[in-house]
């Protein structure tokens, strides 16, 4: 075992410090060390998007980031998407459109969709599908997910961070 490293970062707006081995991914540390189990492990090699988080404004697969790499950076997880005032419009639209079945891919989709609308408040259907191509869902066939994202964009959720 290699020596553990001390990491200082911000997660969902709060200062966080933790110790980790270099081989531990950000996903592992979020889930196993920090109790933030919203990000899920679906494939652990960057092909399903269930572990999506935002790292300094960029959508990433947390399974492909070493936890030591977030030193000095900022992480937002699905737990940080809703505010104390309530759900983010994307989350509300997922509820209204029945855009989830088993729900295990849902946190990844919520984080990814929010990252899209933060950047592009009025995406086309193609842009939504393209942006979400890195998030696999096996239950819904994507139809209701895409509709929920388009509806959230039509309701004007831009820029809510």
């Amino acid at each position: 075992m290699s020596k553990k490293i001390h990491v200082h970062t911000r997660i969902n707006g709060e200062e966080v410090e933790f110790l980790c081995e270099p081989r531990q991914s950000l996903l592992e540390v979020l889930r196993d060390e920090l109790g933030l189990t919203g990000a899920k492990e679906g494939c652990n090699n960057g092909n399903c998007g269930a572990c999506n988080v935002v790292l300094d404004d960029r959508l990433v697969n947390s399974c492909l980031v070493l936890a030591v790499e977030v030193e000095g950076h900022e992480v937002t997880t699905v737990e940080g998407v809703a505010s104390s005032k309530g759900l983010h419009p994307i989350q509300q639209k997922f509820l209204e459109h029945a855009a989830l079945q088993c729900g295990v891919c849902t946190p990844g989709f919520i984080v990814a969709a929010k990252a899209l609308l933060d950047r592009n408040p009025k995406p086309t259907e193609h842009q939504v599908r393209h942006w979400l191509a890195g998030n696999l869902c096996r239950c819904t066939g994507y139809d209701k997910i895409v509709r929920a994202v388009l509806d959230a964009s039509a309701c004007g959720s831009p820029g809510q961070k």
Partner: protein
């Protein structure tokens, strides 16, 4: 979208309330199996065979055990030895000795990824490192991967003691053919003699995976009293309990299974995998043991739906009547007997009234992971053959493919090839709705474009369910059930009891509990949950109504016969102005006799089968062989859609799994039988960018076996897509592709370009 919409005189049924568990699921709070973290937890990992077929000469675990951080290593010797015994588990019957051998190979490994040992360590990383240091001495044997090869005399035998069971007789010599059945209706030879158009063809379908996003997981705690508690992701907590009971030789009362939220299953989250390993390791180390499978392990050693060889022949008269049909279905069971070939056989010709049919089915073991159920297990393979042949007949007869299907559509009272007669069904109605849909009435222009149609059938399941409903003093109800909620069934059960009680869906709080807390309930599979657990919820609601009438009678100071329940109120029949609301009675429970708890157990017989007809338009790039789906419409009989959004969701999800199966999904093996594409990179499931919106039409031909007419909806939508796409591709390029997947490479080859 609004919850106020009322249809068919119902207040709640048929509306679209927000799912009870959805808030937790969009915020990341919902706890799935892998999210369980008990104090003191340690981690298990499995050592797996790199060979498809080999004898285990010896296993040396010393180096692994000596690693710092490693707490225990187990092999098959640490599991109780079991004798042959058949048990009903989930959607299939399983031999318990095979089940145990699949969990941890005792003498022989039968597929790449077959578990041979398990390690427990202080972290997953250490456990993984230890797995690499387990030395297994294998005597590698030739592997057989193809069903037709496996059936040949002289093929490598997986099991020396496996003898073909065929129509009541057992063969003398060992074979890879586990079983054979034959179903006859009428006289197929005479039928073909009457036919004026006869088509026949052989087909192959690849091994595919259910592809749920959440890998299998288990946390096991061995308690000081000798009982074991299991937290896991499963469709069938009671099935896991009974399998564990057999494999660990523990009474069911000593096993508590706590089903966590489940991240998809599609039939593959019934079998036992790491559950007993975690339990045995937990006993050994005296700490909770958590095991999660990696995606590689998922693809190597769980799930797959059987690949198959199919041959079918169908005959029709010139005026478009199907008069004879014959099929030979050969399905991969994987390493142990038990493929879904039987279900394939009973589905293949069932959308049609055909007087003369002959179906032979073979269950064949090969050196691949043991197959398990996948959404309408067996039916998709079979329909690929029959629905393609029907398209060929229509082409020869120059008949519209839906008109032809309508002319031959099965109706109530028609016999199925396997014996039973169809009950009230909506086969014709789905075909009519597809024919009348704007999609089918639209013109499809352009080069290399084609439209395909296919229908499908699935029997659906009934089974046993329990429900308990507690009335709260604020007039709401908590509904306790044992069906893991894989796609909204908490809400569909809650809506049904709400309908009975005159409550809003939101006034029922449904929850899925562990195996000690609720009566036996079959798993969430076979499209049974909204039907059977829904029925239990209805019955529990009726039980509450009876009790409430008694309380109302007390409050009215009348005999109970003089109390009626209507429009959500309890009325004094003698003086209809005197009413009591549900809430008013609930508030006074303590003064009228104590708590009100409804309960029900059901084992319903009136299962309503499901039919679907799909229409798809495609465009094929003749230079690359790539298929683009332009438009897709799925029509299905739901009996009654309790929550239409989740019925649509089942249809869309099933369609897209079928599209993946049709176009790109396949297990790829090397010549030694090692799987090559065990990742989501190369096991190519459809992404959002590969699809259009999936249009849905819900047809409602009520099932008389359910108070609201519910039929199961989850499975049949995966049945038609591969055939519908095959037909569409044929009409686009003029060449039939009889093998799944119809990948770009295969299409280029069919076009003679590669």
């Amino acid at each position: 979208m609004s919850a106020e919409t009322r249809t068919g005189g119902y207040q709640v049924v048929g509306t679209r309330p927000i799912r009870h568990d959805a808030l937790d699921k969009v915020t990341g709070r919902a706890l799935y199996g892998a999210d369980v973290h008990l104090p003191g937890t340690v981690y298990g990992k499995v050592a797996r065979s790199p060979h498809a077929h080999a004898i285990i000469r010896s296993i040396d675990t010393r180096e692994a055990e000596a690693m710092p951080g490693v707490l225990a290593v187990i092999t098959a010797k640490d599991l109780p030895s079991l004798t042959d015994k058949l048990a009903q588990l989930g959607e299939s019957v399983v031999n318990l000795r095979d089940l145990s051998a699949n969990v941890l190979a005792p003498k022989k490994v039968l597929y790449h990824g077959h578990p041979v040992a398990a390690v427990c360590a202080v972290s997953t990383h250490v456990a993984e490192e230890a797995v690499k240091r387990i030395q297994v001495d294998y005597e590698v044997l030739p592997a057989v991967l193809d069903v037709l090869e496996a059936m040949k005399e002289g093929s490598p035998l997986l099991h020396q003691d496996l003898k073909t069971h065929s129509m009541g007789k057992t063969a003398e010599k060992p074979s890879n053919v586990a079983s054979h059945f034959q179903w006859k209706l009428g006289d197929v030879e005479k039928g073909f003699a009457k036919a004026e158009v006869v088509v026949e063809r052989s087909f192959r379908t690849a091994t595919v995976h259910q592809g749920y996003i959440e890998p299998h997981n288990t946390t096991a705690r061995w308690n000081p009293d000798g009982s074991v508690t299991i937290w896991c992701s499963t469709q069938g907590p009671f099935a896991i309990r009974s399998q564990l009971s057999e494999v660990l030789k523990l009474p069911v009362s000593k096993i508590k299974v706590i089903p966590m939220e489940i991240g998809g299953g599609f039939g593959a989250k019934f079998p036992l995998y790491v559950h007993p390993l975690a339990a045995v390791l937990a006993k050994k180390v005296g700490r909770p043991v958590k095991m999660t499978l990696s995606r590689v392990e998922e693809l190597l050693a769980t799930g797959p739906a059987p690949g198959s060889y199919l041959w079918a022949k169908m005959g029709a008269t010139r005026d478009g009547r199907l008069v004879a049909a014959q099929a030979k279905l050969v399905y991969e069971a994987g390493a142990y007997p038990g493929s879904a070939v039987g279900a394939g056989g009973l589905c293949i010709f069932s959308p049609y009234h055909i007087e003369n049919t002959l179906i032979d089915g073979y269950d064949v073991v090969v050196n691949k992971a043991r197959s398990s159920a996948y959404r309408a297990p067996g039916a998709t393979n079979a329909a690929f053959a029959s629905e393609t042949l029907i398209d060929e007949i229509c082409e020869k007869l120059k008949m519209d493919p839906i008109e032809f299907r309508l002319k031959n559509a099965a109706k109530e009272g028609d016999p199925r090839a396997d014996g039973p007669k169809h009950p009230k069904i909506g086969c014709r109605e789905t075909m009519e709705a597809a024919r009348n849909h704007p999609h089918y009435r639209s013109a499809l222009g352009g080069k290399f474009r084609g439209r395909g149609v296919a229908s499908g059938f699935w029997i659906n399941g009934g089974g046993q369910s329990s429900a308990v409903a507690n009335v709260m003093s604020d007039g709401t109800v908590s509904l306790i059930e044992g069906s893991p909620d894989i796609g909204g069934t908490r809400t569909t059960a809650a809506m049904q009891i709400a309908e009975v009680l005159g409550l809003r869906a939101e006034e029922v709080n449904p929850m899925v509990v562990d195996t000690d807390t609720i009566g036996y309930t079959d798993g969430t599979g076979g499209s049974r949950t909204t039907f059977a657990t829904g029925l239990a919820a209805i019955e529990a609601g009726r039980d509450i109504l009876c009790q409430m009438k008694e309380r109302a009678a007390k409050l009215f100071e009348l005999p109970v016969e003089d109390v009626e329940h209507a429009d959500g109120e309890f009325r004094n029949r003698k003086d209809p102005k005197k009413t009591l609301t549900f809430k008013a009675i609930a508030e006074q429970m303590g003064q009228t006799g104590g708590p009100i708890v409804g309960r029900a157990t059901v084992q319903p017989g009136g299962v309503g089968p499901a039919f679907a007809t799909h229409v798809v338009d495609v465009e094929v790039d003749p230079d690359t062989g790539k298929v683009t789906i332009l438009r897709y419409t799925a029509v299905q009989d739901a009996g009654k859609a309790i929550h239409p959004s989740y019925v649509e969701g089942q249809m869309q999800g099933g369609v897209v799994q079928g599209i993946g199966w049709a176009l790109n999904e396949e297990f790829i093996y090397d010549e030694q039988g090692r799987m090559l594409n065990s990742s989501f990179l190369d096991y190519r499931m459809p992404t959002a960018l590969d699809l259009p919106m999936i249009d849905t039409v819900i047809v409602e031909v009520p099932n008389p076996g359910h108070p609201y007419g519910v039929r199961g909806v989850g499975e049949v939508p995966i049945v038609p897509p591969p055939a519908a796409l095959a037909n569409a591709i044929y009409h686009a390029i003029g060449v039939r592709i009889p093998d799944l997947p119809m990948s770009p490479r295969r299409i280029l080859e069919a076009l003679g370009k590669a």
